[in-house]
C-alpha cells in the first residue's frame, strides 16, 4: 500500500469511527451525560486521528495541536511556530481545525452551538457537555 493509499484508508477509517460514535448517540435508548461525553470524546479522537495514547492532555486546544503535529509530522510546539499560513482574515490552521470540528458535530448530530460557548470549551469533556445541552433542546 503506497503512502497515498494509506492516507485514503486512514480517512475512511476515521470517518467510519466517527460515524459509529454518532450512531451510538442517535440510537441510544436513553441518553445520559456520561454516554454523550464518552461518545463525543471518541468522535473527536476519530476526527483528529488520535488514539488514547496521544491524549497526554485533556485540553481541546492542545489536542488540536497534537493532531496537526501528527498530520504535519512536526512537534506540537513547532505547530504554533509553523502555523503562520493563515486565511485572509487571520484564522490559524489550529483555529480552523477546531471550528471545523464544531461544524461537523452540528451537522452530524443536528444541533446548533452558541459560538461563544464553543470558544469557552476547554476540554473534550466540556464539548461533551455542550453537545448534551443541545441534545436536550
Amino acid at each position: 500500500m503506497d503512502e497515498q493509499e494509506r492516507a485514503r484508508q486512514l480517512i475512511l477509517d476515521s470517518r467510519a469511527a466517527a460515524a459509529a460514535h454518532v450512531a451510538a448517540i442517535k440510537k441510544a435508548p436513553a441518553l445520559t451525560p456520561e454516554l454523550v461525553e464518552r461518545e463525543v470524546r471518541g468522535y473527536i479522537l476519530a476526527k483528529f486521528h488520535l488514539t488514547e495514547a496521544d491524549c497526554t492532555t485533556d485540553s481541546f486546544r492542545e489536542l488540536t495541536a497534537i493532531s496537526l503535529s501528527k498530520s504535519m509530522r512536526l512537534s506540537p510546539e513547532l505547530v504554533r511556530e509553523f502555523d503562520l499560513a493563515r486565511s485572509c482574515d487571520g484564522t490559524s490552521s489550529q483555529t480552523a481545525k477546531m471550528v471545523l470540528l464544531f461544524l461537523a458535530l452540528q451537522r452530524d448530530l443536528g444541533i446548533k452551538f452558541d459560538p461563544m460557548a464553543t470558544a469557552e470549551a476547554e476540554t473534550l469533556a466540556d464539548i461533551g457537555g455542550l453537545v448534551w445541552e443541545q441534545l436536550q433542546k
Binding site: 486565511s87 485572509c88 487571520g90 483555529t95 480552523a96 471550528v99 461544524l103 461563544m116 470558544a119
Partner: protein, 516 residues
C-alpha cells in the same frame, strides 16, 4: 477623590472586536479557504475562537494596574449592513475606557478607521489584526484632525505600550499642592523649576493647586475659636485632637523602629504636625504631590519659631508613593511622579553634582572622615566620573517599595536641634543600578540617566547632609545634560531608562538619555 497615588492608577482597556460573517458560500479574491470553511455558520464559530484567543493574549500582555474591560464587539455581514445600533451599543464602554485595543481583519477593519472618526480614545491595533495592523493605522493617521493610533505586530509589544499609556494617565491625573510665599512659579532656591504652569498642564496634563504658606503654617495647631491670624473668622483645616493623637502615635512608631536616633521627641512631634496638616490639605484638594519653598519660608523666621522643617513630610510622603520635593521643586515632584509611574518604586531626590575633592576628602555638605575613607576604598585608584546626590528626604522604602529598610531619625538644625529628618544608609547598596531623571524647566525635555551606587554619607549628620555617591559613565556628558534640566535629580533603583524614554516620547517630550 482624595489622594490617588501613581501606584493606584489603573488603565482601563477596552477590547474591541470587529467581525464580518459571510452569509453565502462563495470564494474569490477576498475569500480563501475551502469546503465547510466557506459555508454560512463557519464565521460565527471562527470569530468566537478568535475573540477568545485575542482576549487571552491581551490579558496575558497586561501588567500591573492594567484593567481589561469586558469586550465590545461590532458585527456586520457581507451584506455590508452597518447599523448605527452597533456603535450605540459600545458607546458607554468606549466612554468608560482609557484606551481601546482593536482587533479586526479584512472586511471588518474599516470599522476601526470609522471608530477613530467617532471617538477620541487612543486606539491600539492588535497583533492578531493580520495585515490590518499596518493598513488601519496608516489610514487613521491620514484622517483630518488628530487621532491617536498605535499598532503592534507581536504581543510582546502590547505590555510595554499599555504600561506607557498607564504612566501617561498617571501624569494626566496628577495634581500637585504648592505652598507659596511669593509669586507662584519660582521660589528663591529652585530657579530651575517649572516656569509656566499653564504650559506644563497643556504638555503633561499635570494640574496645580495652591495654598498660602502662612495660612498653612497657621493651621499646624488646633483651631482658635476666632479663626487663625491669616484667616480670621474662617473655618480652616487646623489640626484636631485626633490629629494630635495621631502625631503621638507616629512619633512612637518612628522612634521605636529607628536603628539610631539623634532627635528630641518634642521636635519630632512639631515636624509631624506639619506633615499631618499638609496631608489634610492634599486630601482636601485631591492632590497627590506636594512641595513647599524651604528658603522662602525660612526667611520668614516662622520655621525657627515653630521649630520644624518639611523634610519629614517629604520622607513620609515619598515612602507612601506620594511625590514630595524640597525647595518648591515642582519640577522635582513631577519628575518623581514620572519615575514612580514607570517603576512602581519610591524615589529619592537631592542636589546632584559632580564630586570634587580636597585631598582625600569629597567636597560635600557634612561629609565625615569615616565615610570619606569608605568612598576612597571603594573607588580605589579611579576617582573619575563620580557624582553625588544630597538632601535629607531619604526614607524607609528606597530599596524596596513594599518593605521598610533600617533607618535613623536625625535632627536638622545644628544649634537648636529642631527639624526631624529620616536617614537611610546608602552604603549597603554599593553596585546597585540607579535610574535618574528630571524634566527641564519648560517641560520640553526629560533627562534620563543611569548610574551605579558607590556609597553613602551624612547618615549621622544634621541638616541636608544625607548623601549617595554614584558613578556615571562620563561626568562631563552628565553635567552638560544636567545644565538643561536642573540641580535636583530624582532617582530609584533599577533600570527604567527605556520606560522613561517611551513615556517622554508619548508626551511629546524630548528625552536626553545618558546611559551608564
Amino acid at each position: 477623590m482624595s489622594i490617588t497615588r501613581a501606584f493606584d492608577v489603573k488603565l482601563k482597556v477596552l477590547p474591541l472586536l470587529s467581525f464580518c460573517e459571510h452569509l453565502y458560500y462563495y470564494e474569490g479574491p477576498c475569500r480563501f479557504g475551502s469546503g465547510e470553511a466557506l459555508e454560512p455558520g463557519y464565521d460565527a464559530l471562527s470569530n468566537a475562537q478568535k475573540q477568545r484567543m485575542f482576549l487571552e493574549n491581551l490579558k496575558a500582555s497586561a501588567g500591573e494596574n492594567i484593567e481589561i474591560m469586558d469586550a465590545a464587539v461590532i458585527r456586520r455581514t457581507d451584506d455590508w449592513d452597518d447599523h448605527e445600533s452597533e456603535w450605540e451599543a459600545i458607546t458607554d464602554a468606549v466612554n468608560a475606557c482609557d484606551v481601546v485595543v482593536g482587533s479586526a481583519a479584512i472586511a471588518s477593519d474599516d470599522r476601526l478607521v470609522e471608530f477613530a472618526t467617532r471617538f477620541t480614545k487612543p486606539l491600539i491595533v492588535s497583533p492578531d489584526s493580520f495585515a490590518s495592523n499596518i493598513g488601519v493605522p496608516a489610514a487613521i493617521r491620514a484622517l483630518t484632525g488628530e487621532h491617536e493610533v498605535f499598532s503592534a505586530w507581536r504581543w510582546e509589544q502590547m505590555g510595554p505600550l499599555l504600561a506607557t499609556l498607564r504612566a501617561r494617565k498617571v501624569m494626566r491625573t496628577t495634581r500637585v499642592l504648592l505652598a507659596t510665599r511669593f509669586g507662584s512659579p519660582i521660589s528663591q532656591s529652585s530657579l530651575d523649576t517649572f516656569n509656566n504652569y499653564e504650559r506644563i498642564t497643556a504638555k503633561l496634563g499635570v494640574q496645580f493647586r495652591f495654598v498660602n504658606i502662612h495660612e498653612l503654617l497657621d493651621q499646624m495647631s488646633p483651631a482658635l475659636p476666632e479663626g487663625n491670624h491669616t484667616t480670621p473668622g474662617r473655618q480652616t483645616l487646623d489640626l484636631t485632637e485626633a490629629d494630635m493623637a495621631e502625631a503621638e502615635k507616629l512619633a512612637d512608631e518612628l522612634l521605636g523602629g529607628a536603628a539610631y536616633v539623634d532627635l528630641d521627641r518634642k521636635y519630632l512631634l512639631k515636624s509631624l504636625y506639619a506633615y499631618l496638616t499638609v496631608r489634610k490639605h492634599m486630601d482636601y484638594k485631591d492632590c497627590c504631590g506636594f512641595t513647599a519653598p524651604c528658603p522662602d519660608v525660612c526667611s520668614t523666621r516662622r520655621l525657627n519659631e515653630m521649630q520644624f522643617t518639611f523634610c519629614l513630610t517629604h520622607s513620609l510622603n515619598l515612602e507612601q508613593g506620594i511625590p514630595s520635593a524640597c525647595e518648591f521643586d515642582v519640577n522635582g515632584v513631577v519628575s518623581m511622579q514620572a519615575l514612580m509611574a514607570v517603576s512602581g518604586k519610591c524615589p529619592f531626590l537631592g542636589n546632584t553634582e559632580p564630586l570634587t575633592w580636597q585631598g582625600d576628602h569629597p567636597v560635600v555638605l557634612g561629609g565625615s572622615d569615616e565615610q570619606a575613607k569608605i568612598l576612597c576604598e571603594r573607588l580605589g585608584n579611579d576617582r573619575s566620573n563620580v557624582y553625588f546626590m544630597q538632601h535629607s528626604i531619604a526614607h524607609r522604602r528606597i530599596k524596596d517599595a513594599k518593605q521598610d529598610s533600617a533607618y535613623a531619625m536625625q535632627h536638622f538644625a545644628h544649634d537648636q536641634g529642631f527639624g526631624a529628618t529620616m536617614r537611610y544608609d546608602f552604603d549597603a547598596d554599593q553596585g546597585k543600578t540607579m535610574t535618574l531623571c528630571r524634566f527641564s524647566p519648560d517641560g520640553e525635555k526629560l533627562m534620563i540617566a543611569q548610574a551605579e551606587v558607590i556609597s553613602g554619607d551624612g547618615y549621622r549628620v544634621p541638616n541636608c547632609a544625607e548623601v549617595v555617591y554614584f558613578r556615571v559613565k562620563d561626568v562631563d556628558e552628565f553635567f552638560d545634560a544636567q545644565t538643561n534640566v536642573g540641580l535636583h535629580m530624582v532617582m530609584v533603583y533599577g533600570d527604567y531608562k527605556q520606560q522613561l524614554i517611551d513615556l517622554a516620547k508619548l508626551m511629546g517630550v524630548e528625552p536626553i538619555v545618558i546611559s551608564y
